[in-house]
């Protein structure tokens, strides 16, 4: 979810939601390593086409490969509930059914990652306007928007507290127990200051009339067309349609 004016990679929020629901249903319905691998490849290719680039593929690999490697080791080698098919040196077992299970799950995770990563290519304002148009409470959306914009502020505050505590003698390479004891010295000031700051902002905005007559999004948030009835029906029907389609294809 970015906020730039770059139109080249801006995906409509409605399309992103339909894509996410479709991929989730596909991931849930999938079974078997071959179908899983093929559908994962197709989903990744579709994600790359939708985002006009291969950057999404790199991100999918970055988040999925560590889990896929873990799955292959845990179920293909370690998990004794899968029968051993090949044994080397008397102790290294390769489990074919475990590997198939790991590939199926890895493909599913790949599809889910592709389904959710598309939201990084939407515009924050359009997403908020779209969710408001399909009936999500504006206050909840405001909460998410404020949280999203506060992240950099909190990160810089955390960095400042860390540097201050290091100047006061905090040792980041002490023993495990000493580092555990040091954790509140870093966290508590950041949390306390952030909550007091949030309260002040809330009071300030309340005095300015924020939310007094119901929350109204600014015009720049409502630049996209609201969701139509057809798109709402499509969103509602997509999971069973995708699930049935995947089952029929397998």
């Amino acid at each position: 979810m970015h906020n730039s004016d770059d139109k080249s990679c801006s995906i409509p929020a409605g399309a992103a939601l339909i894509w996410t629901i479709g991929t989730m249903a596909t991931g849930a319905a999938i079974s078997g390593p071959r179908a899983s691998a093929w559908l994962a490849l197709l989903t990744c290719a579709a994600a790359a086409v939708l985002t006009n680039g291969v950057g999404v593929l790199a991100t999918i690999c970055r988040v999925t490969l560590p889990l896929a490697a873990g799955l292959l080791v845990v179920h293909g080698v370690v998990n004794p509930s899968f029968p051993s098919t090949v044994t080397w040196f008397g102790w290294f077992h390769l489990r074919e059914s475990g590997l198939s299970y790991a590939v199926t799950l890895s493909g599913r995770l790949c599809i889910i990652a592709a389904g959710l990563l598309l939201w990084r290519y939407t515009k924050r304002t359009h997403v908020l306007a779209f969710f408001q148009s399909i009936g999500i409470p504006t206050r909840a959306l405001c909460m998410l928007a404020i949280a999203g914009t506060s992240l950099s502020l909190f990160a810089s505050r955390g960095r400042a507290v860390q540097l201050a505590q290091q100047a006061r003698g905090l040792d980041l390479k002490a023993t495990l127990l000493a580092r555990f004891v040091a954790l509140p010295r870093l966290v508590v000031p950041v949390v306390t200051a952030s909550l007091i700051d949030a309260e002040h902002r809330g009071v300030l905005m309340e005095h300015r009339g924020f939310g007094r007559q119901g929350l109204v999004l600014p015009d720049r948030w409502t630049a996209t067309a609201p969701a139509t009835t057809v798109s709402k029906v499509l969103i509602a029907l997509l999971p069973p349609i995708a699930a049935v389609a995947v089952r029929c294809l397998q």
Partner: protein, 198 residues
């Protein structure tokens, strides 16, 4: 939902997403990604607290890692349990906060185990996966391994979050605490303290 509630809940979500960096800076085996949720449960009504949990998972799914949203139910359950604990006074003493942390840990393990087993095949964070693999190699089932492995990690993480919540609640000004927030006329609340970016 009041305006101040929205801002505190938003801060809690942002804290959930940023505090984990401290754990990685100190190379500690904890995530501390639920301190904001527990604090929201202690400071706000139930619905905003649950919204903080759900919002954290959704926002983290977009910003941090797409595999956060499946654990949204865990964050919601943590919010509900922490809300109950805070209303029974569990965060008023360090030892009750510690016990409350274990209750939250148990809840988190039970709620997240089905997601970890069915969706991720028992493989999630590297540390937990290593512990799960040890249990699997010892002949335990995937469910048993995930429940035990997760509890080992969560029994460090969630009590830490509960103790930090206790420390924060002690240091917060009185107008931010739940009992004072329930009263309509706050005497010592700030009126206008404009910040640079407000």
């Amino acid at each position: 939902m009041k305006t101040r509630t929205i801002f505190i809940a938003a801060a809690a979500i942002a804290l959930n997403l940023t505090l984990g960096k401290f754990a990685s800076v100190l190379t500690l085996p904890v995530y501390i990604d639920c301190i904001g949720t527990v604090l929201a449960a202690a400071l706000l009504p139930l619905l905003p607290a649950v919204t903080v949990g759900l919002g954290t998972s959704l926002l983290a799914g977009v910003i941090v890692n797409p595999f956060y949203p499946p654990y949204a139910a865990t964050q919601a359950a943590i919010a509900m349990v922490a809300y109950g604990l805070s209303r029974t006074g569990a965060f008023k003493r360090w030892w009750t906060a510690l016990l409350g942390g274990y209750v939250i840990a148990l809840t988190a393990v039970v709620v997240s185990a089905p997601v970890t087993v069915l969706l991720f095949g028992g493989v999630t964070q590297s540390g937990t996966t290593a512990i799960n693999a040890v249990f699997l190699a010892a002949g335990k089932s995937v469910w048993q391994s995930v429940l035990r492995g997760s509890f080992i990690i969560e029994s460090i993480d969630k009590p830490t979050a509960a103790i930090i919540t206790f420390l924060v609640l002690r240091r917060l000004p009185s107008y931010l605490k739940p009992a004072e927030r329930l009263t309509a006329n706050r005497q010592d609340a700030p009126t206008t303290q404009p910040t640079a970016d407000a």
